[in-house]
Symmetry: C2
């Protein structure tokens, strides 16, 4: 079977079956582990961007660097962790220019310093193929503040930050991960389940619901649309890098008020709620403005 | 300027100049940082292997996976750290086979389990270019046992483990990083400076000496040669993944006796000593059986 047909999800799923049960962490936002003698948890995440897959040859290398750093940092936002250290692997064609590589690196550095992340190591290699920029980030989360996709409760209210859709028109290269927002949320509220929206609400919300063993209902007309985006874009485009989270309905009013005061320029939208699952074996799907059950 | 001419070292050096002084850790074996509230230090390292650069298309993917994991683990050996968690990034052509990827993964897993390292996360991406396998490892080292290249003292005896040269005939795909040996060394002796030999004694020894602000003298006839290798091979081939370390001369006898008892099948060879530097601004070179000063 060719990888192109098998698809990335299938490859990951297939590799996952090879892992011992205790380390089935691939596919979630970050790995969260104990570190000897520390109260906080160690958080680890790696992510990569690949030339001609994730960006075009004409893309400004500074923006490529920005995106390569911010993608794993968005996974830290997803679980309310604080990123601290980054390792960078740069695989570049030997025919490439050092100016290009340096500009890329400036983008990586600027993104890292936006969140006080120290670039503490790295590796470069030549290649005869495409550019690969892989960024590994480590940091911490307090045990009481670590959030996963799995803690959602029946009846929880679902919120998203920001606006959805149309990211490929530019936002995907310039987004700021919702780390400050995520840290504020877990400091002030009990967030039951959370994730960052990287594949689009239509792909990501069912993952959160499935991890929480619940279903969901969404009021599609309430989805906060980015300028020029329609509901389909909001559901399917992906790369929004906004937060999706579940919180008890009784906290809803206090949250929306406090949010407006703390983040007056960033919308926070109630889009629906978590519900009892239809049954345990299927994943509820969301697409194109309708709710499906497969 | 093209990267091929600039060379990898020059690129790293050039990127290094862009980094703030506090984080100039690239180029050393691992990043070693404090982790909030922990007594031990957090150790981070990333490394990658690239198709057609580090291995041939015909190479057994299980061995490629083994090597991809063991390379960063060898850097843990270099500083006497314990590796614990690995993140794997797999960038594969969409025309590749899932069987190939799975076999590669088995090699990664087998290498990780050899040292009780848990694979806790990963990322896959398609590419139109060459295969890239990037492995990020984190772990710990006790403050008192962390060794760098920089602690060598004038008069220290230099030891290497194992035999040098000819690694490309097969050892480079099957080597076992000297983690057990390194941990035993720092548990029982004061190791002043240490590193793993990845680029060959001729490139690596001058780095250790320079980091320690010292020179060196080597008895070339004493170099432990791998079967079929000559002195030139031992100096220049690289990918030995043996330990090179400096220890006070007074510990020499006790060390060699204890070593023979603990690791009877692995040679430990005194190859020379650290000396006063000729001057501060140049790097002493070692090549082809002669000592040079440039």
């Amino acid at each position: 079977m060719k990888l192109s047909r098998a698809g990335e999800d299938a490859l990951i799923a297939s590799l996952l079956r090879e892992l011992p049960a205790s380390s089935k962490l691939i596919g979630d936002d970050c790995a969260v582990v104990e570190f000897r003698g520390a109260k906080d948890l160690l958080v680890l995440k790696t992510d990569c961007v690949v030339g001609e897959i994730h960006f075009r040859p004409s893309t400004d290398p500074k923006l490529i660097g920005w995106k390569a750093m911010m993608r794993p940092l968005s996974d830290f936002a997803a679980i309310s962790a604080v990123p601290q250290f980054a390792l960078i692997t740069l695989v570049v064609p030997s025919s490439g220019s050092t100016t290009w590589a340096k500009t890329l690196y400036r983008g990586l550095k600027r993104a890292a310093s936006r969140f006080d992340v120290r670039i503490v190591g790295g590796e470069t290699s030549a290649t005869r193929g495409a550019v690969v920029i892989s960024v590994s980030v480590s940091g911490f989360v307090e045990k009481a503040r670590s959030v996963s996709r799995a803690g959602g409760k029946n009846g929880d209210t679902l919120f998203v930050t920001g606006r959805l859709g149309g990211s490929l028109r530019g936002k995907h290269l310039r987004f700021v991960p919702r780390i400050d927002e995520s840290r504020w949320l877990t400091k002030n509220f009990r967030i039951h389940a959370m994730m960052d929206l990287s594949d689009g609400l239509g792909a990501d919300l069912p993952r959160l619901a499935k991890a929480s063993k619940l279903g969901f209902q969404i009021d599609m007309k309430k989805l906060p649309l980015a300028r020029g985006a329609n509901i389909d874009n909001a559901v399917s485009d992906g790369e929004d890098y906004e937060l999706l989270f579940a919180i008890a309905p009784r906290d809803r009013t206090r949250l929306t008020r406090a949010w407006r005061k703390k983040f007056p320029r960033l919308p926070l939208t109630c889009i629906g709620s978590l519900t009892r699952p239809l049954n345990n074996s299927t994943t509820q799907l969301l697409s194109g403005g309708y709710l499906h059950f497969q």
